[in-house]
Symmetry: C2
Subunit: 356 residues, 2 copies
Amino acid sequence: MSDFLLPRLRALDPYVPGEQPQDKQYVKLNTNESPFPPSPHVLDALSREAIARLNLYPDPLSAVLRQTIAAEYGLMEANVFVGNGSDEVLGFAFMAYADETRGATISDVSYGFYRVYAQLYRVSPIIIPLNEDFTLPVEKFLSQGQLVALANPNAPTSIALPLSEVERIVAGNPDSVVLIDEAYVDFGGETCVPLLGKYPNLLIVRTYSKSRSLAGGRLGYALASPAIIDDLNRMKNSFHPYNINRLTMLAGIEAMRDRRYFVSCVAAICAQREQSAAALKTLGFTVLPSATNFLFASPPGMDGKTYYEKLKARGVLVRYLSQPTLTRYVRITVGSVGQMDALLTATRDILKEEKA
Amino acid sequence: MSDFLLPRLRALDPYVPGEQPQDKQYVKLNTNESPFPPSPHVLDALSREAIARLNLYPDPLSAVLRQTIAAEYGLMEANVFVGNGSDEVLGFAFMAYADETRGATISDVSYGFYRVYAQLYRVSPIIIPLNEDFTLPVEKFLSQGQLVALANPNAPTSIALPLSEVERIVAGNPDSVVLIDEAYVDFGGETCVPLLGKYPNLLIVRTYSKSRSLAGGRLGYALASPAIIDDLNRMKNSFHPYNINRLTMLAGIEAMRDRRYFVSCVAAICAQREQSAAALKTLGFTVLPSATNFLFASPPGMDGKTYYEKLKARGVLVRYLSQPTLTRYVRITVGSVGQMDALLTATRDILKEEKA
């Protein structure tokens, strides 16, 4: 930190991404990536000819990409905003709608970045604890009079809120934006896209990182009323107008168009998830009902941190979150068949060692 | 704009990028892109195998890219920050160092985005007019006690400030960050990289968009003391940690390593610039001495807007800036031989028509 940094920003507690250790090859089940490569159409579109045109700026409006996303959801281009990953979309949303004069309401267990944005933008958020079973106390999120930001399905719990409950929250905050972060919705949640026509305060945030196999391309998007999309574009054009590079734009178009590949990847991940969840339960784990591409699981007879460390020593990385209510759990990405076999083998080994 | 947007942000006047009309093919000399494709090594590095790994997140530290840039300038990784275009780097710098409590000093003619950041971050900037000959009144930039942001060479004037004058400004503001935006420095300016060891308040911003032929990849960087780089990383990690996608990271590494290609492209552009400047002067234009990849030129017997419009009608796009002191000028990117021939042909045609 330099002596020049604004005093207000010295206390910032930045987000810490899942570890990316370089010391050896791990079975990486800690950042919820897809085990599948992007659609073959993405590989074809990012041709040598496309790469040779990188000397030219991308379209600052991302028009074709936004039209392609809109078409997939039966919306218009004016309903779609695109960002450099959904983190950037979230960052612009908090920038537009929350500050020290108008705050934000979030839950105590959710995507950790919401708190960071609050800090960055001078917000003292209202933080509402989840119920003991990790479900959301919906009634506490009504009539907030400020930005409400929720992940559905939630992370790291993997639990989905039914559409009717989401609608109660959106309808219950008519004077403020309700941001529903649907990063994981394709794996079993109910999307609130059908509510868009009815509620001008609904802002849905999505990502290509999970179900579209493009975490490395950095692409997220928002679906909302044209007025909200216009707000986000104003933020973007006041920060960096060319936020989507040419190749990611092409990749995003092709990944969205290839619905068949998308469906098959999602189906394979969901099937693997059910198989892995059952296997862990057989070993005595508590596994929350997942509507995502990860499992939130508590090992028998040890806390989450011990299990995380023992797995890491055996070359398997999962995510441990040190929040007080989560210490019995770890978050495990649903990876490939081979990765999940490695996880189970290491786990059986750990449990055997415990008993000995 | 929605009813939810924070009142403070309703008056924002976002940056307007150079037009990207889709109605027909233009000779595009309006956004200072390189006429050359990226290095062949970039084309090789962005292989099908690299694209197939887009399902995995990029390195959030961008370690290899930062090491590669550092090596080129004889610096350490800790001296380098990378952003999604230099606009993002500038955005984080203003975020870290300027707000309503500590302002910013800029010149009235410079990169238009500095004013936008000021607005976004609640800054009432001190705006210092250039001298009548478009040179910088250096003494007015001393002892500011707040962020000082300058482009060198300046845009859209194309004029470079000697290193000794830059040093006066950096030395003259020991208590605040001096940001020198060297977007165009490779085309003939004197870089202030040699000052880095001496001044912990110096922050140099660079881009891959111009001299490295990667405008479409979106990559910019900062060179500064480790403490300043740490500040920028804190901002990034409070906004979006994975800001550089995998392919742009690879492209940035290869484009920086291929010094021979870089030097040959820059030399060709500078040679073309001198030739085009001479030709325009022969036709009666005033052309400012350019240390960039563009010409700031005033046509004989008409204002800049008329010339811009007549060129556009003939399929040639240049940039016209409506600021009161600039109305006699247009900014013309130095393009390929063919593009510059098209510009001159259209210009001769326009001047002939005027005389008739």
